[in-house]
Amino acid sequence: MNINGLIRFLVFPGLLFAIPAGWFFVWVEHKAVARMQRRIGPPLLQIFWDFVKLLGKRTPSRHGIEANLLRIYPVLSVLSLLGALALLPVFPNADHGFSGDGILLVALLELPSICFILAGFTSRSIYGEIGATREAVLGVANNVVFLLAILTIAVTANTFRLTDLAGPSWNPGHWIGVLGILLCIPAKLRINPFSTSSAEQEIYSGPLTEYAGAALAMWELAHGLEWVALTGLVATLVMPAGGPWWLRVLTFVVVAFLQVLLLSAIGAGTARFTLQRSMRVYWRWAVILAGLAMSSAIYMRFHS
């Protein structure tokens, strides 16, 4: 690993930037929802205090392989998301990445969802199992659209290298792909209206029912990092190319922030869909859009 990669993993947009940014984005979401409901909302450091408090809780001792697995899943989620963030081409000119890093990015973004499902089944709680099943069903539905959107962008640019995908392009395929990714983000972040898998009222937070203390804190951290990684992915795809490093960092943060506001508005303005209705959104409508985008991107590539 070269020094550039290490800086990307540890400083920006990795560890040092992403953890406070994740807390901040989760806070912005809570605050925005509160303001839309005419409430005052939580103070700025609320998510940080929640994290610290959870670290100080004494959790019931579990034994055996199940206990280890339940401890590993949230840590694995956090690490894979930090890896995904390190791959984001915020500075496409400084680092050329490697061929096919886009595929690795998609895999790393998917790992937390798989860990979430496995955690639900490993906890052996009935609510965990229901939540995990819902997450799995919804995951299949939104991933078809997500992968088609990424493929549309990749086919348009004729590469899977992230540095070549970064930045806006005049090709409409690129923008349809970005729209497809935006459509999938609410389901990937499990916010309203696609929050059936972690519904607090119906199934006691789903797969996280049996989690407590530090492990739960890691899950909340992973959720914050998911916000940064997914909004960051869209930000790198639409950011104008070139410019000094500070301007790129600023644009990255501002574009991600605007998406957080948009997603909060969607979350505050909608009620929780049933699983069937969420499936219908993706399998009946979004997949048609993504399929058309994909096929037109392939058609345009061979006829231009």
Binding site: I40, D50, V52, G56, K57, S205, A212
Partner: protein
């Protein structure tokens, strides 16, 4: 007090997550508790959050006079909340069984079965009183911190 302990104390005061348990209440106190979450009282601004699972909570808010059917649930849910924890008894029922006192199906008052930290009297109590009770419970919980102190609590 070291810096880490101070940080933890502050975090515990600022992030009380509550779990609500109804032990045969008439629903009056439950409605008042849910009112606290509404825009008028908005407890989220002082960090209070209603949790779905007792494992995620710090403070157990109990309403109702503890009927025989719910006694096992009370003990089980109390055991599921991780240390350090605190219990808030909402309304007159968990404190004194209220009008249900003397009934053969009532196992109350609550303090016979689990240690109670804060009583919020009233039938039902005002939302402001409930919020004040939860904030006080958060402070008790933060001061308790160490498990020895929790064990020293009078358990009847």
């Amino acid at each position: 007090m070291s810096i880490l302990k101070k940080l933890m104390y502050k975090a515990r005061c600022k992030s009380p997550r509550i779990f609500h348990l109804n032990t045969g209440s008439c629903n009056g106190c439950d409605i008042e508790l849910v009112t606290c979450l509404s825009p008028r009282y908005d407890v989220e601004q002082i960090g209070i959050h209603l949790e779905g699972s007792p494992r995620h909570a710090d403070i157990l808010c109990i309403t109702g006079p503890v009927t025989r059917n719910t006694l096992d649930a009370v003990k089980s849910v109390y055991a599921q909340v991780c240390e350090p924890k605190a219990v808030v008894a909402l309304g007159s029922c968990p404190a004194s069984c209220n009008v249900f006192a003397g009934s053969p199906v009532i196992e109350g008052p609550l303090a016979k079965h689990i240690p109670v930290d804060v009583y919020v009297p009233g039938c039902p109590p005002h939302p402001d009183a409930i919020i004040k009770g939860i904030v006080r419970a958060a402070r008790i919980l933060a001061e308790r911190g160490v498990p020895e102190a929790a064990k020293g609590h009078p358990q009847k």
